[in-house]
């Protein structure tokens, strides 16, 4: 939570400083953030390549555990696809891009805003923050009506950090490793899905 708050404050600080015109022109150059973004993606790659925790979780729980992030992905894309029908101003691909953030609002909004403009980037930021908050608020309701996997799938990429405590509480400690595995897989899939949809 603390980290989310710091991220939001920095975003707000950027908006306010830009509105008050206090920024030197050098900071308004889009090229800087593009290069930093490539550096970030490289680091994300390093994290994926150097980690071996995913394989350990699969060994422990068997192949069925892989169906959980699959259910998350299929459900989110189907739902985001349907919502594009309600939004005449947004294309199917735009909605899938936003959905592919899987509540990882920082990375998804940065990527989308760099390659599709700040408008869709802001949609992604708000949509994925909302997703995290929905899980934090409604986890007990989700478990009651949709079973113990529901808050894990709904939590998307956040089930390894911000939503883990609430999942542990309502789905039970048996599901902690499942949530960690799920969060890691979805987390790593976010930049891949978004760059895939952006390339269409």
């Amino acid at each position: 939570m603390k980290q989310s708050l710091i991220y939001l404050l920095l975003f707000a600080a950027g908006v306010i400083l830009a509105l008050t015109g206090q920024l030197p022109d050098a900071l308004l150059n889009d090229d800087i953030s593009k290069w930093i973004l490539y550096g970030l993606l490289f680091l994300v790659g390093i994290q994926i390549g150097s980690g071996k925790k995913i394989l350990l979780a699969v060994k422990r729980f068997g192949p069925a555990i892989a169906l959980i992030p699959l259910a998350t992905t299929v459900g989110t894309f189907a739902g985001a696809g349907v919502s594009s029908l309600l939004l005449p101003g947004r294309s199917l691909i735009d909605c899938l891009c936003v959905g592919a953030g899987f509540a990882y609002y920082s990375l998804s909004s940065i990527l989308i805003s760099e390659f599709r403009g700040a408008e869709l980037g802001t949609v992604a930021l708000l949509a994925n923050i909302m997703r995290e908050f929905i899980v934090l608020l409604l986890a007990p309701w989700m478990v009651r009506h949709f079973g113990k996997l529901a808050p894990i799938c709904a939590g998307g990429a956040t089930t390894m950090d911000t939503t883990l405590p609430i999942i542990t509480r309502y789905s039970g400690s048996d599901y902690v490793v499942v949530a960690l595995f799920h969060g890691m897989v979805i987390d790593f899939s976010v930049p891949l899905w978004i760059s895939f949809f952006l390339s269409l």
Binding site: G45, Q47, G147
Partner: protein, 93 residues
């Protein structure tokens, strides 16, 4: 967008090669810092974009609709998976 794939893939290859170097343990903290920096830049580009500022409430409603859609779809899939595979096998209660 091919660039993004190539950058991530070269990161994965590098990460795999240097996975035993102690520094890679800190990749997560560096990522947090870089994300914070980029969100600041994103705030700047939103603040200098009159179109985004003028349509902020519409953007909020669009975001809400996409989130409700995506989360509902996910909940249905989670329920299907849970009731077919997980409830009987792993469930104790």
């Amino acid at each position: 967008m091919l660039n993004i794939f190539l950058v991530i893939l070269s990161g994965v290859a590098t990460g795999y090669t240097v996975r035993k170097v102690p520094f890679v343990k800190h990749a997560g903290s560096v990522i947090t810092l870089v994300i914070a920096l980029l969100l600041f830049f994103m705030g700047v580009s939103v603040g200098t974009n009159d179109q985004v500022l003028a349509t902020f409430s519409t953007i909020g409603i669009e975001a809400l609709i996409i989130t409700i859609g995506g989360t509902s779809g996910t909940l249905l899939c989670a329920w299907l998976l849970y009731s077919t595979l997980f409830k009987k096998g792993g469930e104790k209660s």
